[in-house]
Symmetry: C2
């Protein structure tokens, strides 16, 4: 590492951010300290404030700066549907579709045995607790169709099989605007297997 | 923007960093506040500390946390050579080569009329002042061979023509390990025009 002192510390911290390597951290550190001192101080303030303001909603575990998140606090939402997502960001993205009016639950991760993420490292106990205490009719597993997502969906599927709610997952298939010629074989197989009749 | 409150502020500040777009800023903000709270606070501290500790060296204008930078303070360096660079990072990179033992001067930018960067926006007056007050024999312009770098080299070349020191620039050509077939026409022309005899 080229820098030492507090500039070196700054580079070290920046390098720990996802997607930022040693060279980018170096450039960012210099950029902030040499020519964007106001941005550096503003960023420091907003980091402190956001960490102080935000915490997990006691019910759905999404990040919120209120005692309870806006979705859990809203009495008009459908209590019989629970959408299980990986992270807070997914809640916002699903809300933007305007197609869902039920409740959410944030798992905080996906099962990944190779990375040491087992059922106790994500919020599975809290999810089961919540499902036992409430009258949920449908659990929607809105997780990525990745290796980790599929493992989590499989695991949750067998775990929830004993409980009353129906368990569904997001459809997989060719994305809108996609091209059959550029679609992977797995996606194309899925799209064919889950074909539906046109009305 | 999806977030509001202090999380939105954090996203806004992150988005102002070079190379970080709205989506990355969103992910980074959530990542820091949801799962890396200690990193967030460490980053905030190191930003404040680095901004407080570092300032421009009064002589060469590179960033330093000492009253005068290590290169200006070192009495064993060659006073007759002055290497002009764009930024503090370049000083460290040139030092790593171990091939240079003279002094440095940090311009703080390159001329770019389209972006409104003229001679007074970079440290040209300070450079001229320094050259008038010292016995420099060679000024090495170690600037990027980019459009802005070339303009700056041209401008500095004519400006310094009246002064005693010889003005040199870094060689341009095919990088070590490069491939003639993948080299741009300009680079290949330069390499041909500046060919040198093998010994």
């Amino acid at each position: 590492m080229l820098f030492h002192g507090s500039l070196g510390e700054l580079q070290k911290h920046l390098k720990q951010l996802p997607g930022i390597g040693a060279k980018t951290a170096q450039r960012l550190a210099l950029h902030l300290v040499a020519s964007e001192r106001e941005l550096a101080l503003g960023l420091a303030d907003s980091l402190r404030l956001a960490v102080a303001d935000y915490h997990a909603c006691p019910r759905c575990l999404m990040l919120t700066d209120a005692p309870m998140c806006a979705f859990c606090a809203d009495e008009n939402r459908d209590d019989t549907r629970l959408c299980v997502v990986e992270s807070t960001l997914d809640v916002y993205l699903l809300e933007q579709t305007g197609e869902y009016h039920g409740r959410y639950f944030v798992l905080g991760g996906l099962l990944s045995p190779l990375d040491g993420v087992g059922p106790d490292e994500i919020h599975l106990p809290e999810l089961l607790e919540l499902l036992r205490s409430r009258q949920v009719e449908e659990v929607i597993l809105a997780l990525n169709p990745s290796t980790e997502g599929e493992s989590t969906i499989d695991y949750l599927g067998s775990l929830l099989a004993e409980l009353p709610p129906t368990v569904t997952r997001l459809s997989t298939g060719i994305p809108f605007g996609g091209d059959i010629g550029y679609t992977s074989q797995v996606t194309l197989s899925n799209a064919l297997l889950r074909r539906f009749s046109i009305e």
